[in-house]
């Protein structure tokens, strides 16, 4: 596969997943708002804080209301990570490598883009309950995954898209979990109160993990939720699971099925995955959840850089090698 094509497929996977997760972020808050006691003020800033774009937001807006935040997260093309930006970029990546996609996949990605534009046209962020819109976007992306799942051959291209998808998801699950850190409880004494539990439940629901969590742990307990979302071996949105999948993809791309590592990317993902595999939730809480997640996000970025230099920057390597001679 052409290096350039592999890179576009990888980013297609990442941007689609990013858009889907933003739809989920927004859903967390709506879920939450509905369950809050009437005297509590809605909190929208934590959403932006968790995406890591708080500084950008402050340069663009002076008001922190629901409308501004929704617009910023979903429709603002000045926000490079907004749903619209991600969807535009995933379409652009898909357009460049259209000959490598099935006709259905391309058409659904194209449709997704027009759905998003239509939403911007209809000023969805001003609607009292825009959840149906984000639900549609999420479903459209899930449809694209479904089509791929049932029609794409499990060869290189498939693994590059999966790789992008799972690395993005690992990052986004860590950020969804981090939303909880940024949501302020009225006071320190509210830790462990029904309000606190409401937050945790909203979080689980946003990753479609509530029922699975219930079956595994029964009652809501913060450290169990953390364990579930970071370390669970079977839940497909837990960070550990995503890293295990990413590792699997990398090994199938290189053909190294005997363990160990063949390149820096494989080494990095292997290290990160084993660290989680042998971690206990008490280690994480002891370290500080927010700090732990922050650290993890940095490591995920490094891993993405290594994938880039291993597979996508072949020309640079080639040219620097010939120059050395």
């Amino acid at each position: 596969m052409l290096s350039r094509v592999a890179s576009h497929i990888y980013w297609l996977g990442r941007y689609l997943e990013r858009a889907e997760n933003y739809a989920r972020f927004i859903d967390v808050n709506f879920n939450l708002m509905q369950d809050l006691p009437v005297d509590l003020k809605e909190q929208w800033q934590p959403l932006v804080a968790a995406t890591g774009d708080w500084e950008l937001f402050q340069t663009l807006y002076s008001d922190y209301g629901k409308n501004q935040i929704l617009y910023f997260l979903a429709f603002d093309s000045e926000n490079p990570n907004s749903m619209l930006s991600s969807i535009m970029k995933s379409r652009e990546n898909a357009r460049i490598i259209r000959e490598n996609l099935s006709k259905e996949t391309w058409e659904k990605v194209n449709e997704l883009y027009y759905m998003m534009l239509e939403g911007k046209d209809k000023k969805i962020w001003k609607k009292a309950d825009p959840r149906y819109f984000f639900e549609r976007i999420k479903n459209q992306i899930l449809l694209i995954y479904g089509i791929a799942d049932n029609s794409v051959a499990r060869v290189e291209g498939w693994y590059f898209r999966q790789l992008g998808q799972f690395l993005e998801r690992a990052d986004k699950t860590s950020r969804i979990l981090d939303v909880k850190y940024h949501i302020l409880l009225p006071s320190g004494q509210d830790v462990g109160t029904p309000l606190d539990f409401l937050h945790w439940m909203a979080l689980l629901k946003s990753v479609t993990g509530f029922n699975t969590y219930r079956r595994v742990y029964g009652t809501i307990d913060p450290s169990n939720v953390v364990e579930f979302l970071v370390l669970n071996k079977y839940f497909p949105r837990s960070i550990y699971y995503c890293l295990k999948e990413a590792e699997y993809c990398l090994h199938h791309i290189s053909g190294n099925l005997d363990g160990g590592f063949k390149n820096p990317a494989e080494k990095s993902v292997g290290e990160l995955r084993s660290r989680l595999e042998f971690a206990e939730v008490s280690d994480i809480i002891g370290f500080g959840l927010h700090e732990y997640l922050d650290n993890l996000q940095i490591k995920l970025n490094n891993l993405s850089d290594l994938i880039d230099s291993t597979y996508f920057r072949l020309r640079d390597n080639f040219i620097s090698q010939t120059n050395d001679q």
Binding site: M1, L2, S3, R4, V5, A6, E92, R95, I96, I97, R98, E99, N100, K103, W106, E107, N110, E111, Y114, E156, I253, Y311, L314, R315, F318
Partner: protein
Amino acid sequence: MKIEGYNASEHYDEMFTNIGEIRPHYEEFFQSLKKIPIRKMNHLQFSANQTQRAMGMTFNVYHDNQGLEKILHLDIIPRIIPNDEWLKLEAGLKQRTYALNLFLQDIYNDRKILKDGIVPEDLILGSKDYLKPCIGLTPPKGIWCHITGTDLIKNKDGEYYILEDNLRCPSGVSYMLESREIIKRAYPNIFNQKGIRPVSDYPAKLLKMLQHLSNKSKPVVGVLTPGIYNSAYYEHSYLALQMGVELVNGVDLIVEDKKVYMQTTRGLEQIDVLYRRIDDAFLDPLTFRSDSMLGIPGIFEAYKAGNVALANAPGTGVADDKAVYAYVPKIIKYYLGEDPILNNVPTYLCREEKDKQYVLDHIEELVVKETNAAGGYGMLIGPKATKEEHSKFRDLIKSNPTNYIAQPTLSLSTVPSLTEEGVMGRHVDLRPYILYGNEIEVIPGALTRVALKKGSLVVNSSQGGGSKDTWVLYN
């Protein structure tokens, strides 16, 4: 037997005769068309537009700030060509392609036709499209023009005339293929009954032709595109997808030891045949334009060494120049000893004193074209132009006569099209596609371009034209 308001008498209409009778090859379709209320037609048109958008069937417009992607309007009323007409076209196009290919081989090698004074030497050797690096070169299998998209029109006399031989990787074939799919969905029943020759195997034929250019048993083929901002990017990716080959950019390729390699995730892989959609001048910055960012340094040397085949071969542009066009009947006679089967439009070459004077005197009746411009740019339609434009072109011709030719205004035939005023006749041209591999094959279909504005003769997509599906009947 009339469509209200449909006026066909001024020009040759392909559905009605000048006394308003239905031509036999339209009879059946006309009966079906009559049963479809105009509201349903408009709805079919609407769905076709939606489908095109969903498919991302777009082209990019140069010099246009209104967003990059546009849809080429597809008129949902097809154009029908009867088999006997087609057979003549087919024979004529094969003859022409064969002769032009011999001409190219000759002018880059022995130059017999120039020495024999059939075609003026300075016209060829002085042309900016005559590529000196190609002198003495014979491309793989001796084929220069692998893919041709000849433009024709049907004149008032009901005869086809060649307008242009497009030998430089003509575009539009993806519209021929995709339009057919859309139109099939619009009239599913008619397709079963009518006996329409299929075009869907074009990508397979194209691939076979490209593979033929290499001596390897399993050559690696690629489509070389200038990239996503090229107006025909959709077509490049569509053809790569349909053939199941790589779509490559210049940056994906590297030349080592006169061999061309693709950079893949598993290292370098040699590529044997490139269907290149990059202009000659941009192919190789070492041989041609040194400022080309799209090209691949060293690819021309690899081509000369026979390690990569390029379709079309570099250097074909010299033969589809509008001045050379005037000599094509002589070229056919010279190499094949045959009379041309298809008509050329009478052409006045301003490079010749007598012709120039005639053009200057009759400019308001003529169409004046720059010998080397494409896409309807640099053109004057005498009868429709203003006095100022006439004198502007007179000055242009006087200052650089070799750059201009002129032809009588032709009357383009009309075919029924769906317009805001209902079904009306609109002017069309015809671009069939010809592949030259093991043998020469004319694809039984075409891109029909239609001037959707009432009375307009300009069919170019860059100037507001649309397209039509073109049905060639079995009999």
